[in-house]
């Protein structure tokens, strides 16, 4: 399996898109820190980059890459290799290369400019978000054989989590504000990896004013340490569940 992962990573590196992604992300992060006089403000800008750009690139690039790997998958299926290993290798190859790109371009400016704790937290969240959206891309790519449809689903998923979900929560808060909806709201937040990540990062940065409704409830509910551990478990579930669904479907797929 290691050999297959090695081939996939080499192939992705040869594909210049990932390098372009790393360069652009690096430039964005460096400018974010050098434009703001205050490191926390810079970190906040980087946070919105992590929450918007990283998921978008991860899910779209991975979905397209998985569709383009059809030939590669076919070639390997004739060889004595377990099916699940092929899919897992693709997942690991994509995650490792995209996470490395993020670590180099986003991690270095964060470590240089931001506070130690905040930087570490943001780097680990960025890596987690990358892997989560690679897992969601696996799911998109296995749901349909049609490439255009698959990429469409990927874009919709990103749009939903990055933009629509927050609006939906706000709508619920406005509609049902008179009722005690704090607990259900916390549960609802767990349904979006991007919202979860935002809350964890802001718990760390201690900028309560920007935490938003769900973040405030989260803090009030769990306190810092428990809140952190629970969100990390939830984020891990966001990797495990979509990927295992896609793995199961891949095992039964006809090629």
């Amino acid at each position: 399996m290691n050999r297959i992962i090695k081939y996939i990573i080499l192939d992705i590196i040869k594909n210049k898109l990932v390098i372009a992604y790393a360069v652009v992300l690096g430039l964005l992060c460096f400018t974010a820190f050098s434009l703001e006089d205050n490191a926390t403000k810079g970190a906040l800008t980087v946070q919105s980059i992590i929450l918007f750009v990283v998921p978008l690139v991860s899910i779209i690039f991975s979905t397209i890459y998985l569709y383009n790997s059809n030939e590669f998958i076919e070639l390997l299926l004739g060889q004595p290799i377990q099916r699940r290993k092929i899919w897992i290798s693709l997942f690991i190859g994509l995650s490792v290369s995209l996470a490395t790109a993020f670590f180099i371009s986003g991690g270095i400016p964060l470590l240089l400019y931001a506070e130690g704790n905040v930087a570490l937290m943001m780097i680990s969240i960025g890596i987690l978000i990358t892997v989560i959206f690679v897992a969601l891309a696996c799911l998109c790519a296995i749901l349909t054989r049609d490439k255009a449809k698959g990429i469409g689903i990927a874009i919709l998923i990103w749009l939903f989590f990055a933009l629509l979900f927050d609006g939906l929560l706000l709508f619920i808060v406005f509609q049902f504000g008179d009722y005690p909806i704090e607990k259900p709201m916390v549960l609802l937040t767990a349904l979006s990896p991007i919202d979860l990540s935002r809350i964890v990062m802001q718990l760390q940065m201690d900028v309560s004013a920007l935490m938003g409704y769900t973040g405030a409830i989260f803090k009030q509910f769990f306190g810092n340490v428990l809140g952190l551990s629970i969100t990390f478990v939830l984020l891990l579930l966001w990797i495990i569940i979509p990927f295992s669904i896609s793995l199961n479907r891949f095992k039964k797929k006809d090629l």
Binding site: I4, D11, E71, F72, E74, L75, L77, G78, D254, L255
Partner: protein, 237 residues
């Protein structure tokens, strides 16, 4: 060597293979023939585990292939249309498959040399013609000296010279006692190759007979004519 027991495959509402039962033995060179879309490739892909049968079992060397993958060590597969990653060169592909297989046995590089592939090693798969792609597929199928060779339309797209090289190679491997499964529409090409014949139609296996038996029954000299005869007059078992 390969037992196919009551294998059926549905693609949505379409049944591609209907209750196929076959027994394929070592040392035979078996032709799988039938009209387009009769389920030949689906059956072959089921043996390879690329298509998962809806029902039925496939036994390879006494072991059910369901949830097994190591049996593919003993199979060399040449697809009808070889599809390879666009960006890889011929050299990369061959090197990668070698590394993945990590076979300790000696490699069979006859075809590699006969097709003069090393001189094309730097070419990317995207730039290859259909025939050259077929040459790569054939080379990969024979490279690891497998006990079973599954060749889906092996000579389609090859020039006469390459096609002859491949045929000679197939005969050589048959004499070593390997099981060879060929699908082809060029019946005239099969005459000096095959020992058994499987005929499929509409997803069903219509008959599975020795070539000599079939020729005797129909009173024909050529396989092509014998099959035409059978199609006209029906099968007398």
């Amino acid at each position: 060597m390969i037992e196919i027991k009551n294998v059926s495959k549905w693609f949505g509402k379409l049944q591609a293979v209907k209750n196929a039962t076959l027994s394929l033995n070592k040392g035979e060179c078996i032709a799988l023939i039938g009209p387009n879309g009769c389920g030949k490739t689906t059956l072959i892909k089921s043996i390879l585990g690329m298509v998962v049968p809806t029902s039925g079992d496939i036994i390879f060397d006494g072991k059910n292939i369901k949830n097994d993958y190591l049996y593919r060590k003993n199979i060399g597969y040449m697809p009808q249309i070889g599809r390879y990653p666009d960006n890889m060169t011929i050299g990369h592909i061959i090197e990668m498959i070698k590394q993945i297989r990590q076979s300790s046995e000696a490699l069979d590089e006859d075809l590699l040399k006969a097709f003069d592939l090393p001189s094309l090693y730097e070419k990317r798969m995207r730039t290859l013609s259909g025939g050259t792609t077929q040459k790569v597929s054939a080379t990969l199928a024979f490279l690891f000296n497998p006990d079973v060779l599954i060749l889906d339309e092996p000579t389609a797209g090859l020039d006469p010279l390459a096609s002859d090289i491949l045929k000679e190679k197939i005969i050589k491997e048959k004499e070593k006692g390997k099981l060879i499964l060929i699908t082809s529409h060029l019946l005239s090409e099969l005459d000096d190759l095959i020992t058994e014949l499987v005929f499929m139609q509409d997803g069903e296996v219509r008959f599975h007979q020795h070539v000599s038996e079939l020729l005797n029954k129909t009173g024909e000299q050529k396989i092509a004519k014998a099959i035409a005869n059978v199609l006209k007059n029906g099968i007398s078992e």
